[in-house]
């Protein structure tokens, strides 16, 4: 088609399409990621005026220093025992992921998604919540279950879609659901559940309850309209909700700049809605815990929503259907400036004098044993294509509370 715009003094227009700093084949480059010193970002009082700490949406709250020391105003919340427990949770999640990744390759299930490099986010956040609070997670927060001692066997039975699968084989692997553990059923459709978290929190406020909700979303998914609806509702009704954005730099092959656009950070999205926003080092267990605690207290004190951006990196592939070597440098994760959450907490504990390389190795072995034991037990109940299966009858159940006649007829026709 022809260009027939007015002859202007500014010349023709051109479309801006953002690009990541490097692609596969290039040298990884994170020089554009501005990382403040650990301990350098201030900690406002929970009830202070959000107008006074807008700058925190552009910084990164960090506790663990390069030398593994816990420093600054956000440090000092967790004792040795709690930190060791946190380390164990992250190690368990990583081992669990590694085993399930292999199980998928062996054909024992159809699909898997791992957390590699992002373990601190969901593991630490869970420990800051109270019983009764509700998460509306994405597929990359299984740490919420692990850190709440949800049985690994149950998780694996769900992954294998076997006869003991609590979801009866209906749902895609890893799309867990557990009301008892404050883990809302994962949908798989991105961003839909962020606004539901806000609604759940509003309900708690309507009923003068004390529970709060947490919404979860990935960097890429913040582009969905549901994300923006969530911020409006949360802001308007000052809902007791923590709105988490896990910025792991990638949305499948798409770098975070495509969803972020011209806004400096994802956290900054909150400011336009009048929602206080914090940015935190997502690979720092102590920092994640401290910021989660702060935001949760704010919600619990009826001060309203907080938006939290966790700055982290997706070390693994998006899922077992993805191969990132086609779109980003293979060594990019080694160059990621915020390091590895497990290594960092381990070094901190060694520095504190309560941990050692030897104990770490020993713990690794113990965890591997327990994951393998759980796996054996789960596999005893079947895997996707072998052994015990949920029945075809289960497929017809649970569409409604009471099966309507047309479905009963169809079930009969299916002969199950």
């Amino acid at each position: 088609m022809s260009h027939d715009g007015p002859l202007g003094e500014f010349g023709p227009l051109s479309l801006h399409v953002p690009e990541p700093a490097v692609r596969h084949g290039g040298e990884p480059d994170f020089s554009n990621v501005n990382i403040p010193e650990a301990g350098s970002v201030r900690r406002p009082d929970v009830d202070s005026n959000p107008e006074d700490f807008r700058d925190l949406a552009f910084s990164i709250i960090r506790v663990l220093s390069r030398d593994g020391e816990a420093v600054g105003p956000w440090a000092g919340l967790l004792n040795d025992e709690q930190l060791i427990e946190g380390l164990r949770h992250m190690m368990t999640l990583r081992t669990f992921d590694a085993r399930m990744q292999i199980a998928q390759r062996q054909g024992k299930t159809s699909f898997y998604m791992q957390h590699l490099g992002e373990e601190a986010v969901s593991c630490a956040f869970r420990k800051a919540l109270s019983p009764g609070d509700m998460n509306f997670p994405t597929y990359r927060q299984a740490g919420l279950l692990i850190a709440d001692d949800y049985p690994m066997v149950e998780m694996m039975c769900q992954i294998y879609s076997n006869e003991r699968d609590p979801l009866k084989g209906r749902q895609l692997p890893i799309m867990y659901s557990s009301k008892e553990h404050g883990f809302f059923s994962i949908s798989g459709n991105l961003a839909t559940q962020y606004i539901q978290a806000v609604g759940w929190a509003m309900a708690s406020a309507i009923k003068n309850d004390t529970k709060i909700a947490a919404g979860w979303i990935g960097d890429g998914s913040t582009a969905e309209s549901d994300f923006h609806a969530s911020l409006v509702f949360a802001s308007t009704y000052k809902a007791p909700v923590v709105l988490n954005i896990v910025n792991n730099q990638w949305a499948i092959s798409t770098f975070q700049g495509i969803a972020r656009g011209g806004s400096g950070t994802f956290a900054a999205r909150g400011l336009g809605f009048g929602i206080p926003a914090l940015r935190v080092d997502g690979n720092d267990y102590l920092a994640v815990y401290a910021v989660a605690k702060w935001a949760i207290e704010r919600a619990r004190r009826n001060l309203g929503p907080t938006l939290v951006e966790y700055v982290t990196y997706r070390v693994g592939a998006h899922s077992t259907s993805d191969d990132p070597s086609a779109y980003r440098p293979k060594t990019e994760s080694d160059a990621w400036p915020l390091g590895d959450p497990i290594v960092r907490l381990k070094n901190h504990l060694i520095g504190r004098g309560v941990w050692s390389e030897e104990r770490h190795k020993q713990t690794e072995a113990e965890i591997l044993d327990s994951v393998i034991a759980a796996q054996k037990e789960a596999e005893g109940h079947g895997t996707l294509h072998a052994g015990g299966k949920p029945s075809a009858r289960d497929m017809f159940e649970g569409v409604y509370e009471t099966m309507p006649p047309h479905l009963r007829r169809q079930r009969q026709e299916a002969g199950v």
């Binding site: 084989g169 798989g188 582009a223």
Partner: protein, 337 residues
């Protein structure tokens, strides 16, 4: 002429149209640099630049809404929704906007967009990678709905869709991307390189929208199918020794009623198969039309074989999918009736 997979054929169609027409733009989630999760747009950004083929933010409403705006300017956007199961955020843009733009502006504005999306099950994708939502679009006045079943048609239909002056929903049965899957999930699929319909002519050609095709001539009964179910129907008829006439609808809207009526009038029996759920599925529309136009020729009730009226399950995929055994039983019953 070369043998191509359906993915390659679809890519070829976009490539040819981008080459011929500078107004054709292609975008969607992971579509630009990477070339789409099914690789349908691979190489297009490198060839045509990142302002003609690019990554979109994860916002289906945004993707379709932006496409409508571009079309209103005069471009011809061909956008990808990563899976049909994720099209719902865009539903308002499609139903309330794209479909009605020409009508409500009395042609002042039009909407020549194509919305491509992989559809259908068979890959253990559970409820979010398996759905067949075609009836949600055929119910909307102002849309055209296309479901190709092979590389040859996929290329010709996609070119026709891009050239069409109105919005086209282009549903790609993902289980057919690499070969004509016939529902026998325990056997390897013949690749398109070994199938006649994998023959894809070079260059520009169209398969017109609104034209069905007889995949098999037969006397005993008529099977109406589209997408993956064409091959399931073929397998079922063959295994049951039934001389079926199989019609591949290719375009659901506008529908080639003539071919359907001609066939059913000849055979007197009609079985409709689709993967989508039964209730208010496209089969209901087909059954009603066959009844209206062929009532006095019918020797048996029109039958439907479809997915059950449940969400698409994960583990029970093959209990859900209307495979050759179920279709075969319905064919046998239709002959008795």
């Amino acid at each position: 002429m070369a043998r191509k997979t359906m993915i390659e054929a679809i890519r070829d169609a976009m490539d040819i149209m981008m080459e011929r027409d500078g107004d054709v733009v292609v975008f969607g989630e992971d579509v630009g640099f990477f070339g789409g999760v099914f690789r349908c747009t691979q190489g297009l950004q490198a060839k045509y630049g990142k302002t003609r083929c690019f990554d979109a933010p994860i916002s289906e409403a945004g993707i379709v809404g932006a496409a409508i705006g571009m079309a209103a300017y005069g471009l011809k956007p061909c956008v990808e929704i990563q899976f049909a199961d994720y099209v719902y955020p865009a539903y308002d843009q499609i139903v309330s906007e794209a479909a009605r733009l020409r009508y409500r502006s009395n042609g002042g504005f039009t909407c020549p967009i194509v919305v491509r999306m992989p559809t259908g099950g068979g890959i253990f994708g559970g409820q979010t990678h398996s759905q067949s939502p075609e009836a949600l679009f055929t119910h909307v006045s102002g849309l055209k709905v296309v479901v190709p079943s092979n590389p040859h048609d996929a290329k010709g239909l996609l070119i026709a869709a891009i050239e069409d002056p109105d919005p086209v929903i282009f549903l790609e049965p993902k289980r057919l991307y690499n070969g004509p899957f016939d529902g026998h999930h325990d056997r390897p699929v013949t690749p398109w390189s070994k199938h006649d319909l994998g023959e894809v002519p070079d260059g520009h050609y169209t398969v017109p929208l609104g034209k069905a095709i007889k995949r098999r001539e037969g006397k005993q009964l008529t099977i109406l199918a589209y997408g993956t179910m064409v091959y399931v129907a073929e397998a079922a008829a063959e295994e049951h020794g039934i001389d079926a006439e199989i019609i591949d609808l290719r375009t659901l809207l506008p529908l080639d009623l003539e071919t359907i009526v001609e066939s059913v009038s000849k055979t007197g029996r009609c079985v409709i198969v689709h993967e989508a759920t039964l209730t208010s599925g496209f089969g209901a529309e087909l059954a009603a039309l066959v009844q209206e136009h062929c009532f006095y020729k019918l020797e048996a009730p029109v039958a439907r074989v479809t997915g059950w009226d449940t969400p698409y399950p994960h583990a029970q995929e093959w209990d859900y999918f209307p495979g050759p055994a179920r279709v075969g039983r319905a064919l046998a019953e239709a002959l008795e009736g």
